[in-house]
């Protein structure tokens, strides 16, 4: 049996104190196997991105237990974790420095981690994400949205991580470009044996890219199921079924009961 790459147990996170405390994650637990692609879906505010941010070390005051490759995570972010876990953000327009060329953006992580052979690495990583060498000295404004997202993926991959955290990687892109990026992500995972944790609100994307999916609502995981079961009648939870129906089409009859929304 494949070992677990990511294990999260009873993860809790609260913002604020006393009566104003906002409990944003409530006992979130799941495990992702090595080489697996796992999806987190839910509405805005359901806490799905927050889980990623805890894993990436952007929030440090969580409680509970998180293990990567069997090793428990400290609250403080260390260098080793950065090399293991990298993140790709939603908005390729906002996540690249506007005044850094592609080369500068890709060199920086290597400079921080003291990695040599930088030129060769940049060349090969660009080829991997489907850009040629002529893109090396371009600025973000000289790239299209899809090309920027490729650069963002290259930047995440240049430290050769084993886990990619993907935060809505295609929701800012047109469907035609989205298809290219999704194909690229699928290829990269197969070639390098990466583990993906994907956050999205688009069930189509989850079904395409992931093996299993957890449905979140108000900081809790409602159910975890194989993405192949999404289409059938197996989603037990009413909220999951609503998400599936709503992603298919607009339908007049489909009034969403308040109990489902506010469960």
């Amino acid at each position: 049996m494949t070992p677990n790459m990511i294990e999260i147990e009873k993860l809790n996170l609260t913002f604020g104190h006393g009566p104003q405390a906002n409990h944003v994650l409530r006992d979130v637990s799941f495990a992702v196997k090595d080489g697996e692609s796992f999806g987190l879906v839910g509405e805005s505010g359901s806490g799905k991105t927050t889980v990623l941010r805890c894993l990436a070390g952007q929030y440090t005051h969580w409680s509970g237990e998180m293990r990567i490759d069997g090793k428990a995570l400290e609250h403080k972010l260390d260098r080793a974790r950065c090399r293991h876990v990298q993140m790709v953000f939603q908005d390729p327009y906002g996540s690249l420095h506007p005044r850094h060329t592609v080369e500068t953006a890709l060199t920086e992580p290597m400079a921080i981690h003291g990695i040599g052979e930088r030129q060769e690495r940049i060349g090969s990583i660009l080829a991997k994400v489907g850009l040629n060498d002529s893109y090396r000295f371009r600025y973000p404004h000289q790239l299209s949205g899809g090309q920027r997202q490729r650069v963002a993926i290259a930047r995440a991959l240049i430290l050769e991580p084993r886990i990619l955290l993907l935060d809505e990687p295609t929701s800012a892109l047109d469907v035609s470009v989205q298809a290219e990026i999704l194909n690229l992500l699928a290829d990269l995972r197969q070639r390098d044996g990466l583990t993906y944790l994907l956050v999205t609100h688009d069930l189509g994307v989850v079904a395409h890219l992931c093996d299993r999916v957890a449905v979140m609502q108000q900081g809790e995981i409602l159910e975890t199921l194989a993405t192949s079961d999404l289409a059938g009648s197996s989603p037990k939870n009413a909220y999951t079924r609503m998400l599936v129906d709503a992603s298919r089409e607009y339908s007049r009859k489909q009034e969403i009961p308040e109990t489902v929304l506010l469960a």
Binding site: S176, G204, V244, S251
Partner: protein, 279 residues
């Protein structure tokens, strides 16, 4: 089809930048009756520009020409700005994508809606407030009295969008242009907003132009679809027939959508044909 509300023939929009001319919209023609007409396409295809040019909301650097652009008996291209103000908002109104940026952040939502009403109708403030409460109820806001007093940052995205719809509906327009009205919303809220829009369009015999990039949504929500590519309408098709689309661009877009029901190892990537720019 019922009476034609809007007739557009050979609409062309050009932008002038540093002496360079960019053709944003080319030879777009369509009629709008009492129906839900979708305009779909990728970003940059000119779909929003079409919507804006109908209401003369384009920037000064744009040059709009058309053989014909008629709203009932009125020639939308020829009328002076003063007359346009009588139409804009009152007879044709527009719903924007994101309520966060489109509502005035320092004004109570009820007062904003009342302002829209008073701009086009002679009425007392009390009368306007009554109309607003009535309208808020129509867009299915449960506690209109309370919501009237809220500021935009105090309402959720879905409620904000329903407030926008209320604001656009209260002058009782004949045509509504909705520019990606639901793309900033979650799926569950999206259904609510759409059904509000759907009801109002049905009750008041409106014409709706629904600008979107979401083919799946348009397929079931609208009656007819115009597919735009690089400023041109490449295909006009009944929404129900979208599965039998003829144009390779439309088919490519549909095929590129990942789907829960129909899983594939690789998504077909759209191959763009230069001939689409001219054909």
């Amino acid at each position: 089809m019922s009476e034609i509300k809007l007739q557009v023939e050979d609409l062309r929009v050009q932008f002038l930048n540093d002496g360079r001319i960019t053709d944003a919209v080319r030879n777009v023609s369509f009629n709008l009756g009492q129906e839900k007409l979708a305009i779909v396409g990728e970003s940059g295809s000119g779909k929003s520009t079409v919507g804006r040019s109908l209401l003369r909301l384009h920037p000064a650097s744009a040059k709009v020409t058309a053989k014909q652009m008629r709203f009932g008996e009125i020639d939308l291209l020829g009328i002076p700005e003063k007359a346009m103000q009588q139409i804009r908002g009152q007879r044709i109104s527009m719903i924007m994508q994101d309520p966060k940026y489109s509502l005035n952040p320092v004004m109570r939502v009820g007062e904003q809606i009342a302002e829209a009403y008073l701009a086009h109708h002679k009425a007392s403030k009390a009368e306007a407030a009554e109309r607003v409460l009535d309208m808020l109820e129509k867009v299915r806001i449960r506690d209109p009295q309370r919501v009237y007093q809220l500021y935009p940052h105090e309402v959720s995205g879905g409620m904000g969008q329903r407030i926008m719809i209320a604001m656009m509906m209260i002058p009782e327009p004949e045509i509504i242009i909705a520019d990606e009205p639901t793309s900033a919303l979650d799926v569950s809220v999206r259904q609510q907003v759409l059904s509000v829009l759907d009801d109002l369009v049905g009750q008041r015999n409106l014409g709706l132009i629904f600008i979107s990039h979401d083919l799946n949504l348009v397929r079931t929500f609208c009656d007819r679809v115009l597919v735009m590519y690089a400023g041109r309408v490449v295909e006009s098709i009944a929404a129900a027939d979208l599965d039998h689309a003829q144009h390779p661009y439309t088919r490519g877009l549909l095929a590129a959508l990942p789907s829960i029901d129909h899983r594939r190892d690789r998504l077909p990537v759209l191959q763009r044909d230069p001939a689409w720019l001219t054909a």
